[in-house]
Symmetry: C2
Subunit: 195 residues, 2 copies
Amino acid sequence: MRLYLAGPDVFLPGAVQIGARKRGICARYGIEGLFPLDVEVETQGRAEPIFRGNLALMESADGGVFNLTPFRGPGADAGTAFELGFMAAQGKPVFGYSSNPAPYLDRVGVHCGPLVRHGQGWRDRDGLAVEDFGLSDNLMLAVSIAESSLDVYTVAEEGPEALAAFRAFKLCMAEIAARLTRWQSKESPHVQGSL
Amino acid sequence: MRLYLAGPDVFLPGAVQIGARKRGICARYGIEGLFPLDVEVETQGRAEPIFRGNLALMESADGGVFNLTPFRGPGADAGTAFELGFMAAQGKPVFGYSSNPAPYLDRVGVHCGPLVRHGQGWRDRDGLAVEDFGLSDNLMLAVSIAESSLDVYTVAEEGPEALAAFRAFKLCMAEIAARLTRWQSKESPHVQGSL
């Protein structure tokens, strides 16, 4: 089982070590974690080879685990969102986790508030409608994960490594491992897009 | 030719009218524009049917045109990024446009600056590395479009409809139409993933 480990972790100081730690957590369950930076080192930091390298990693993976912790605003990193869409289109199982348990609506209130009532919904300070489904992020992201696995795993975390969301990641990996064990013990045929 | 019209336009006041205007611009070129809100009206604003409806629209489209104008931060809307990844994985041609011509690095400087030099690169005020490829957004988004079509089309625009980026959209559609004409006149086999 090979899982692509997507997220804004690659932008954190010590990203290489963070990737190694996440791969180590995967290895405890006999899972191979694929971290985007492993590719980046070989590509000397040029954009096109990084893009192609990440695509190749996703193509080679059996599923994806997505760090949806808010990045430079109220929602998930756009690069991570791109990769979630890419793997959802491949029909592979996708999982999500985050160190921020607040619903998307509340986070938009913090970053782009105050929110104002508009009919049945809400608008932000720029007059833009805010999704109000009680979800953790934009519905395309949150529902793709809900339909494939479960809700996004969240464990509140603060400090310099909050963006890596290690606690929620560990919870998510334990759940993936438990599902994998149940699935393997049943020896049932693999259902595409879910575990 | 059916093109999916992705973007944060759906969150703007008057989104239904904006969608109708964009579909009208497509129609001038004999192209059918598919706007996500057309689905939403039928789904009574529930998250799962909107998700499935948008997926069905993308499945039925021949390609996608993505509004990457920054949304609630320095970069593109995460829902739009998800859909770009989804259609890129399908091997369909993807185009991009924006009303903000500044490179991603500069926009991060505005939203999350001041930027600080770190080795060959830059870090934002939170110590997070900032991509410095001269691209319009996160490399996964920008390169997926560059590899499929051309760079993201940008025309600076301000005011209440800047997020809809009509000027850049018109430029992008004119270019798509010109390519379509060239392609049809050559009667060459369709190259998957590009026009």
